[in-house]
């Protein structure tokens, strides 16, 4: 029901290419024509082409007329665009969740993710921390029943994924972020709509400023 009964080549190509891009095995600037990618994936151009179109619409790739597919770098300005949108949308989701008072089961899961983040911070496991961070944001969105918002924001998360992974180790331990997640969760549980919104907004604004300042101080124009 959730996954396709029959795995199609397009889906396969899409997932594999997306994975290669997000894991930085196909780094930004990487470029290859359709036939080459098709060969690499062991299928014909047709499904590859459709997968590339999809990746392009998600902002991970650009199709350049006679040059092939280009893995897009994410510039500081892209980052600004993306964080501006996240700053507007995610707090709404959080506020709406606080209003709706979701059932205990769902909140339990958010709670577990937050605990995982806290313990990852304590043990200095940055990868686990980043994973919990990602899960928190995605879970919160998924709980707020707005599929259009969820899907769109998820594509934005994907776009900044590489940048977050890179900067993860260029900054101090993310204590503040962790505290803020806890704070947001508390407000949601308490049903405090306005504070849920505000604290999420502050969380995003601070994270964006931090990320951009890291990019600047390390002279990373794009990732």
């Amino acid at each position: 029901m959730l996954s396709e009964l029959k795995p199609t080549r397009v889906e396969d190509a899409y997932l594999r290419l997306k994975d290669e891009i997000l894991q930085n095995r196909m780094p930004p600037g990487f470029q290859a024509p359709e036939p080459e990618i098709a060969l690499h994936l062991g299928m014909s151009r047709t499904p590859v082409r459709e997968a590339l179109i999809r990746l392009e619409s998600e902002g991970l790739v650009r199709l350049i007329p006679r040059r092939g597919a280009l893995v897009l770098p994410v510039s500081a300005d892209d980052m600004r665009e993306i964080y501006e949108i996240l700053t507007a949308l995610e707090p709404e989701a959080a506020a709406s969740l606080a209003r709706k008072k979701p059932d205990a089961g769902c909140l339990q899961e958010l709670e577990a993710i937050t605990l995982a983040m806290e313990s990852a911070l304590a043990s200095g496991d940055l990868d686990a921390w980043a994973d919990a961070d990602d899960r928190f944001h995605r879970k919160l969105l998924a709980m707020h029943a707005n599929n259009r918002m969820t899907n769109f924001v998820n594509t934005l998360f994907d776009q900044v994924h590489r940048a977050r992974m890179t900067t993860l180790r260029l900054r101090k331990p993310p204590e503040q972020s962790t505290r803020e997640h806890r704070e947001i969760l508390d407000h949601i549980i308490a049903g405090d709509v306005e504070n849920a919104r505000k604290s999420f907004r502050a969380h995003r604004e601070r994270a964006a400023a931090e990320l951009l300042s890291i990019l600047e101080s390390y002279r990373l124009p794009a990732l």
Copy 2:
């Protein structure tokens, strides 16, 4: 530069199908298999298929396994999703514009659109009014340099286009909307960030409530 040098069949199919959908010549619920659409457009399945994939990613169509492309109706719940996103994003764009104090030329254009809306209201020309409304929203977004936001919001505008056209004549003359546009513009010109944001938010919240109440009172579950 703006348009493609060479009009491709995919682009042609995309534009024509989108137009047919938005103009309600292919109404919600309309369904046709790829070969039929290809025949209708006078080209092979390949470009049609790519155009349909694009329309699907924009939420206008759904591709159902052995049934063909289905023109999606927009339900009240879809409307809720869409307006929630607009309510979060557009006020940010307005606020940011108020902050940036755009040059007179651009504001001139917004002013002209607002005047057009006011005179359309005065003369009772609903189509001209709706056109000015649409242009105001799109222009404001375009002025706020965030392409991701602009593109996404534009797809949402497209999705609600039919519903807006239908309800346009089921409601009282849109005096309030017109006043609100003027108010928003004034705040932007004055550089009043917070009031630009607030008045736009109020504008969207009211419009959403109005639209949904019309759907309810006329028993229109979807459009």
